[in-house]
Amino acid sequence: MGDGAVRSATVSAVQTTSPLQARRRRLSGRLGDLSLYVVTGAAALGSVVLVGAIVWKVFRLSADSFHQFGFGFVTGREWDPVKHVFGALPFIYGTAVSSFVALVIATPLAIAIGLYLSELAPRGLRGIVGSLVELLAAIPSVVLGLWGILVLGPFVAHHVEPWLHSAFGFIPLFGDPQQTGQGLFTAALILTIMIVPIVAAISRELFLGVPRELEEGALALGTTRWEMVRGVILPATRSGIAAALILGLGRALGEAIAVTQVIGGGTRIGWSLFPPADTLASKLASSYQGANPGLEISSLLYLAAILLVIGLIANLLAQIIVRRFDPLRGAKA
């Protein structure tokens, strides 16, 4: 009854506006819809174009160096601006080693923190510790690098490296300690500090997403909490953790500033983790300013192109894993 009244009121209201006005309003409404659609669509498309432009620009500017050295650039061990010989191997080696060492240290640490935050921490501490770990990720890399060069570096040089050398010196990884503490090992430690909070935050979310019934079912069967973690939580979140680790790895591979500050710079390739080296990103950050236009700049951009390809692969891989292979996500959907 009431509805009918409302409807007739609306109908009469519409009828009192002239047909011309109604048409104009309909037109402006349609125009509004269309323009919002176009503007937002253009913005979204803009991001896609942007990524395309980044890839295109970096590759185009590295073309000179690519024509000169081809794929042999990747295995070239020399970087000599005077002789115009450039090769990326020392930097690929530095990137791989520093990121890998960081990942080896960070993986157990981050997963343990994720477990603590999701399973162990008392309710009152959970939020506080969680935010503190996230704050660690917010510290600007240049500040972390400053701390690394002036505090962590000397500590590593005077305490950590001598100790590792005397205790595990028979392993070639732990060679003679360095005086300054600037080197691959310090860089790896700084990278560890950067990726632990990222991986820990993602793992916590993953662990919290495991259905309660599964966890309680295992506990009801008489498992200890650790056995439940090992038998239920970790297998259920395996792919998510893998994706988180790849994201962390991507961050470590591409970090330029903090690494440049602590890695010392050099083109040595060897077993020991302690001597100075360079990563792709740190070489770019430290060398571009004095670089000669032409082949040297182009070779630096070749390094950037390698970095870009690695970064793209790591990110896409992480996304594919998250979207395709997460068993829990599939179950929930």
Binding site: I113, L115, V133, P140, I149, G254, L316
Partner: protein, 282 residues
């Protein structure tokens, strides 16, 4: 029985290990913050904030020029990134068909994960080669870093807007665009602001892109964006590479200012985000 004991011991050990891991992370944070604060606090003074950098080799001086430059760079970058990011998020949540939304989402997440130095080189290649370094080139590179963060945060709050609101508006015969502008955006404006604040906190500390776009700057206060703008991250980076202890002290103080801003901004943003999320989720 001994088997049961062993299981208990293993369990206990693992619990201790996990707790220790969390403790290590918190300790590292405390050590970094405290050592920056201790070393930086000594050099903080009015002069430090209101005087520009001293000429090379001279004592004293402050970071006034870098402070002004950083604020300008961030303001410009925010003005570029926020509209595009918000519009992108609106497209993805309100308009995009699924087969377009997923790939665009992937691309935006990839953009968020690209090494920032590569973004710096891109802008360098785009705007600096053939010209000179400039404030707007620096702002563009920061905006590219902020864009995916703003888009992501906006998308999250847009998805939280109850569909009943959306449907109620559409059922009243309100046009789609009026629904978006008049109903959906106002109810998610808090979330957009906090997302922006998070992106600002991130961009304020970014050094790598500025190294290529706005790093060779004057030690006077500079407000002309067509010239390289002095900024705090590059100042810290340059000082940290010098051997002079006086410059190190300035670097610590600048790091304290930067870190203080970034930590407070991210804490504040997180608190606000939790609040607006709670309100929207009702």
């Amino acid at each position: 029985m001994s088997r049961y004991r062993r299981r208990k011991v293993v369990n206990r050990t693992m619990e201790v290990v996990a707790t220790l891991a969390a403790l290590v992370a918190v300790t590292v944070l405390v050590i970094v913050v405290v050592s920056v604060a201790l070393r930086g606090a000594g050099a903080l003074s009015w002069d430090f904030f209101f005087k520009p950098q001293a000429l090379f080799g001279q004592p004293g001086g402050g970071i006034a020029n870098a402070l002004v430059g950083t604020i300008l760079l961030i303001a410009l970058a925010t003005a570029m990134a926020v509209p595009v990011g918000v519009l992108t998020a609106i497209y993805l949540t309100e308009f995009a068909p699924k087969r377009l939304a997923v790939p665009i989402q992937v691309v935006i997440d990839v953009l968020a994960g690209l090494p920032t130095i590569v973004i710096g080189i891109f802008v360098y290649a785009l705007l600096v080669i053939g010209h000179t370094q400039s404030g707007y080139a620096g702002a563009v590179s920061l905006a590219i870093i902020m864009l995916p963060l703003v888009a992501r945060a906006t998308q999250e709050v847009l998805l939280l807007v109850p569909s009943t609101l959306r449907e109620a508006s559409l059922a009243l015969g309100v046009r789609r665009w009026r629904t978006v502008v008049g109903v959906i955006l106002p109810s998610s404006v808090g979330g957009i602001l906090t997302g922006t604040l998070l992106a600002v906190a991130r961009a304020a500390g970014e050094t790598a892109p500025l190294l290529f776009t706005s790093s060779i700057f004057a030690n006077t206060v500079q407000t002309d964006v067509t010239k390289p703008l002095p900024n705090i991250p590059v100042l810290i980076f340059t000082y940290s590479e010098q051997a002079d202890p006086a410059l190190h002290e300035q670097a610590w103080a600048a790091a304290l200012v930067l870190m203080g801003f970034v930590l407070i901004a991210s804490l504040g943003a997180k608190a606000l985000l939790a609040r607006s999320r709670k309100r929207l989720a009702g």
